[in-house]
Symmetry: C2
Subunit: 466 residues, 2 copies
């Protein structure tokens, strides 16, 4: 093991993890400080940089024809910006006291310490992989990395059977169900809960359940997966729950992710309740002047509940990277927090949510009113007007908006953005009733569905006060 | 002329104009006060109630197959709610001192005074009809009422020629151009200005110009229409400008509207700079305790400029009606104002704006930075990702958002709602960069186009401060 050094007067920024957060930070820092002032070294244990993990289901499903479309920036592009990018090199230790990291060449096994003046931790998240027999059998796939996606595609190409089992019914699960339906598979989704999309309240999840069933997807509720059964060839042949077996030619695990913070934990850096790194508003690791962290490995402040949470989402990772890069570059920027917006789709069903679910609100001591309304994406008489259901939560007494969930067809999901901005601004549902949203028959009924919900919620808040 | 009376103890609400604002007010008042408490008399000079004028272009264009789809509520439906609706009855005078209105049966000519305790003025707007020779010739059409729409459809059905001239290139003009293109006409749009859609800045209007030309629409700029030329049969044969003639088998006037406030003016009620009635926040006519006004005949407060303006739009009229009805019914509600959001389309081109244009900002003494960015509706690699252009104005020094304009394809227009809420909340573009908008590849790039614009605007504001 050697120690790299000899860098003269300039500072060295070390980045761990070369995906959205890490490379946004590196690129933004480079924009303000040239290579004469700032050396940037980035370590990436995988084969790719800056790729869209969110796009993998659409590549698997065939909408995106080739892998490389998902790569926003290649290693060569980063290097062209004077970033010393070390691919297939895994950081194995952070030595906070001596301001250095130890990294291992994945292929050769060679290790080396690299010192830093400033450090960015962007180690991402790792998929939760249930600890059960058979889970590592050929034919069982996660979908976190491009390598995972390629392995799944290879399995699909090499397997004659058309029975797919998806374990998990959150975003990844439902998106993978769509991908496999689009590939012509018979899809069974094994869901731990009663309804898919547990990021929604169960009444809204029910609508997703019904729609997925309508798409020909077999939905199994309350399923406790116990093991993966393999055939004589060692490949997956079925997934067993505690009361049934589901034949499978391919299995996709879509259970969710948790922050990849083993390195940070070993280094004694502060972790939160969900296992993510804790940062301040400038994305500095709390208590550490020269260490920043962002992306899927950190916890973020939920502006509605006032508590930290973990959300793995590329759009946050990119924002974190921008903030970190600006600060590392000598500027000033902050990440104020999130309101928990997420959108998804299963075939033509659109699903969106922002803010708190009923159980989130209860957990943080908020009392609330809920309303659920039906409306349409366009004026009812305009061709293509499609139904949507909007659920809205508002705090008792104050009437402050707490959350919105939408399930519908074309034009439903992005309507949640209105609620996301209103949540950020701390608006009441009464204030929302007067929002000047775009109206024309091809785009909205004369009362936008979000406003219909706000009117009803405001009435319920008023009635609750009397 | 007789005086209707004999109404015992109950109050009488008189409504002038039975379209969106008037009948929303009547219905909302009825919801809280039954017929034993409140008599409601509504006068309507036309043949229809509560119809969607905004839908007329789509009926003419064929997307909406029949007229009655545009009627939200028929006279019979209103009467079933104990509203004494007098169709084809025009109010000809408001006697504020004696709290009564005079109305004339349009067909018989009979006149009658009706007293009121509370009065709602919802007389709407009237299309601007240029004062020039030939403008009343057969084949020249406005598109304000359902009768207008039917007359135009009758002309289209009865005319062999396929040359249509649209006078005006605002919302009505471009929507009618689309309708006539959809009907298979050769369409020429005569525009007084250099670019269509003068509700946009000219640089954004230029994009609409290019797109409309690409759709096969002939765009004539800087056109001063001088007269309508007629043939020997008395029908329109061409439209003349000061330097050319445009052959026409049918002519549509889409020049815009102005508040229909002749009655109010004669009654001495307060009118604003744009000719609309002036109200307080509760939609009461200023200085008059028992008279309310709403819809296309009033001026509204622009929350961004701080000045009153006139906007004829069904969505505002409905909100006004709700507010008025609530107040008339003994409750409390206000209309805080608008930010000037409008969306429209021409075939697959979507157009949106909110807040101030450059010239609006200058007029009210605001200095600003502008940015214009190109982005896409979905992740660039996702099928159907279509380009959009977003222009953003932010105040110098404060960085407060002042306005947004968007021109693009599917998924462009309703993105303006994010800016509408941000304007309402008084957000800065710097604050907007952190907005937690819905992200998934089928719905947005990882940075939503509005956020891309906000980032660039924020950088420009900061640079302008240094």
């Amino acid at each position: 093991m050697s120690m790299s050094g000899g860098r003269g007067d300039r500072e060295r920024l070390v980045v761990i993890g070369a995906d959205a957060a890490g490379m946004s930070a590196a690129s933004q820092a480079r924009r303000t400080r040239g290579p004469a002032e700032l050396e940037i070294v980035a370590f990436e244990r995988g084969h790719f940089t800056s790729f869209s993990a969110c796009g993998i289901p659409y590549w698997v499903g065939g909408e995106v024809p080739e892998r490389d479309r998902l790569i926003a920036r290649t290693p060569e592009e980063h290097r062209a910006r004077d970033i010393d990018l070390r691919m297939r090199t895994e950081v194995t230790e952070i030595d906070v006291d001596r301001r250095r990291v130890r990294a291992r060449d994945v292929d050769s096994g060679a290790e080396e310490w690299t010192s830093y003046d400033k450090l960015v931790i962007a180690t991402g998240a790792r998929p939760i992989r249930p600890d059960m027999p058979g889970v590592d059998a050929p034919g069982v796939h996660g979908v976190q990395t491009l390598d995972d996606g390629q392995a799944l595609l290879d399995t699909l190409a090499g397997t004659r059977g058309r029975r797919a089992v998806v374990v998990g019914a959150g975003y990844i699960g439902v998106e993978m169900a769509e991908a496999l339906i689009n590939r012509g598979y018979e899809v069974t989704v094994l869901n731990r809960g009663k309804e898919p999309m547990s990021t929604l309240d169960p009444d809204m999840g029910r609508l997703v359940h019904t729609a997925m069933t309508g798409l020909g997807i077999t939905m199994v509720d309350d399923a406790t997966v116990t093991k993966v059964l393999t055939g004589q060839d060692g490949r997956v042949r079925a997934v067993a729950t505690d009361d049934a077996e589901y034949p499978a030619d391919v299995v996709v695990l879509g259970i969710g992710v948790c922050p990849e913070t083993a390195l940070a934990r070993a280094a004694g850096l502060p972790l939160g309740r969900h296992g993510g790194l804790l940062t301040d508003r400038a994305m500095r690791v709390r208590g550490h002047t020269d260490i920043w962290a962002g992306g899927d490995c950190v916890e973020v402040l939920d502006l509605v509940s006032g508590q930290d949470r973990h959300i793995a989402l590329g759009t946050h990772a990119n924002k974190h990277g921008q903030v970190i890069g600006t600060n590392v570059g000598g500027g000033y920027a902050t990440f104020p927090g999130v309101v928990g917006t997420a959108v998804s789709k299963v075939c033509d069903l659109e699903i969106a949510r922002t803010g708190l679910r009923e159980k989130d609100a209860r957990r943080v001591g908020l009392q609330f009113e809920t309303v659920t309304i039906e409306s349409t994406s366009r004026a009812g008489y305009y061709p293509g007007a499609s139904p949507m259901t909007v659920k809205m939560l508002a705090e008792r007494r104050t009437g402050r908006l707490l959350g919105v969930q939408i399930v519908g067809r074309e034009g439903a999901a992005k309507r949640v953005d209105v609620a996301a901005v209103a949540l950020t601004a701390g608006m009441t549902v009464e204030q929302m009733t007067a929002l000047d949203l775009g109206y024309a028959p091809p785009f909205s009924p004369v009362w936008d569905p979000v406003l219909v919900a706000a009117r009803k919620a405001a009435a319920k808040v008023r009635a609750g006060i009397c």
